[in-house]
């Protein structure tokens, strides 16, 4: 940019005028921004919520409703203490059927893939250690090859009902083991990334899920019994 080169100082402009000009401009900008922010915020938040809901809907096989859980000091909790900032904590979701019987967790996680970080969300039933579904949220994998992890129905649908921990196998070599996921020919790295993300997330979250599920289902089943 050539702008600084053409800069011609005019010494007769007093400093206060510069400050006032900038201040005015800043104030005006702030005013406009706050206004637009207020105007668009509801829509934006609704969009985000809808997108999240749609993803959870998909991976938890249409739950009736779900709870948002926070990972707080090594445990999962629904209610946060007042001093914790919910925006800074990792969130996972716990879905229920219409009759309030639990379906499972929806966990979002991400790790480096072939090109860049792959983020996905998956549904997981801790009681049976099976996956309920998987949806890729964000990826830059090679179009036509690596992006099959989100676009290839055969690949995505495998994550419905597979046992954890997952193992990836080549399509022709599957043995029928319930832990197996057929990888995509030619996109081994991308397929493995998906499997790796899910396995790692479960390994990291496993104990937390365990204790939460025990706590959540315990009282509930007692209620049902009553």
């Amino acid at each position: 940019m050539s702008a600084p080169a053409q800069f011609q100082p005019k010494p007769d402009v007093p400093a206060w005028r510069l400050l006032v000009t900038l201040g005015l401009a800043g104030a005006l900008a702030g005013f406009v921004l706050v206004f637009v922010y207020q105007a668009t915020l509801p829509t934006i938040e609704r969009n985000r919520a809808e997108r999240l809901a749609a993803a959870i809907q998909e991976v938890l096989k249409a739950p009736d409703h779900y709870d948002t859980l926070y990972v707080y000091q090594g445990t999962l909790t629904r209610q946060l203490p007042a001093d914790a900032d919910p925006k800074k904590l990792e969130q996972i979701y716990f879905g229920y059927h219409a009759d309030s019987s639990p379906i499972g967790f929806a966990i979002a996680s991400g790790e480096p893939g072939f090109q860049d970080v792959v983020r996905l969300i998956f549904g997981y039933d801790h009681a049976t250690q099976t996956l309920l579904g998987m949806k890729v949220l964000e990826s830059k994998e090679t179009p036509g090859l690596g992006d099959k992890i989100e676009k290839n129905v055969d690949f995505v649908s495998q994550f419905d009902g597979v046992q954890t921990p997952l193992t990836g196998v080549k399509p022709r070599q599957s043995t029928g083991d319930p832990h197996e996921v057929d990888m995509i020919t030619g996109a081994t790295i991308s397929s493995r990334t998906v499997i790796k993300i899910i396995n790692n997330a479960l390994q990291r979250m496993g104990p937390m899920l365990e204790s939460y599920q025990a706590a959540a289902t315990g009282p509930q089943s007692a209620e049902v019994a009553q």
């Binding site: 940019m1 900008a29 922010y37 480096p112 893939g113 090109q115 970080v117 790295i189």
Partner: protein
């Protein structure tokens, strides 16, 4: 640690700032005719990127939660003024360093790589350390791309490039070829 190394390498080669994210294209196209210039510009770039990364982290952690709509404005204003201050300090403290790097600083402030770094970093929620690795990786990536481009242009200067392709068209084709070559780094450190 592995995470940090991946951030560094990703910004440097796998998703090179210039060749994959198209950040810092103006100097890449314009200033990269001489290797020595390119090298100094790259070093200055790393320097400013690190400052920008720290600024962005600071703003993002302490100010923006209360006024998210000010993100863009605050990034650009704070980074630009901080670079200006640093420039003045360098000029005072080390005139030699200033002659080597300082003249490039104003050029860099308005470079999209700086703002790009700040935005990418906050979008991905990097913490301070991760941000620093990201900035250094990105800066190294920029430097690498700049120096390679400059040395290739220097050597093509005396080639009989067809009149049609002289100038920007050739630069773009070279950039495309470099970008193709950098695709070889895809998936680095993420396969295991």
């Amino acid at each position: 640690m592995g995470e940090l190394v991946w951030i560094l390498l990703s910004a440097m080669v796998v998703n090179n700032f210039t060749l994959a994210y198209f950040l810092g294209l103006c100097p890449f196209m314009g200033v990269s005719a001489r290797v020595s210039t390119a090298l100094r510009l790259g070093l200055a770039d790393i320097f400013v990127l690190v400052i920008a990364s720290v600024c962005a982290w600071f703003l993002n952690t302490f100010i923006l939660p209360y006024a998210p709509y000010l993100r863009l404005i605050s990034f650009i204003v704070v980074i630009a003024s901080l670079v200006q201050i640093v420039e003045m300090v360098i000029k005072k403290v080390s005139p030699v360093l200033f002659r080597q790097l300082g003249i490039y600083l104003p050029l860099i402030t308005t470079n999209c790589a700086i703002l790009g770094l700040a935005i990418f970093q906050t979008n991905r929620g990097y913490n301070l350390l991760e941000g620093l690795f990201f900035a250094v990786g990105g800066g190294l990536g920029l430097t690498l791309a700049l120096v390679l481009m400059a040395s290739i242009r220097e050597s093509s200067e005396m080639a009989d490039v067809p009149a049609l392709a002289k100038g920007m068209a050739l630069v773009l084709i070279i950039a495309g070829s470099l970008s193709l070559a950098f695709m070889g780094f895809a998936g680095l450190l993420s396969s295991s």
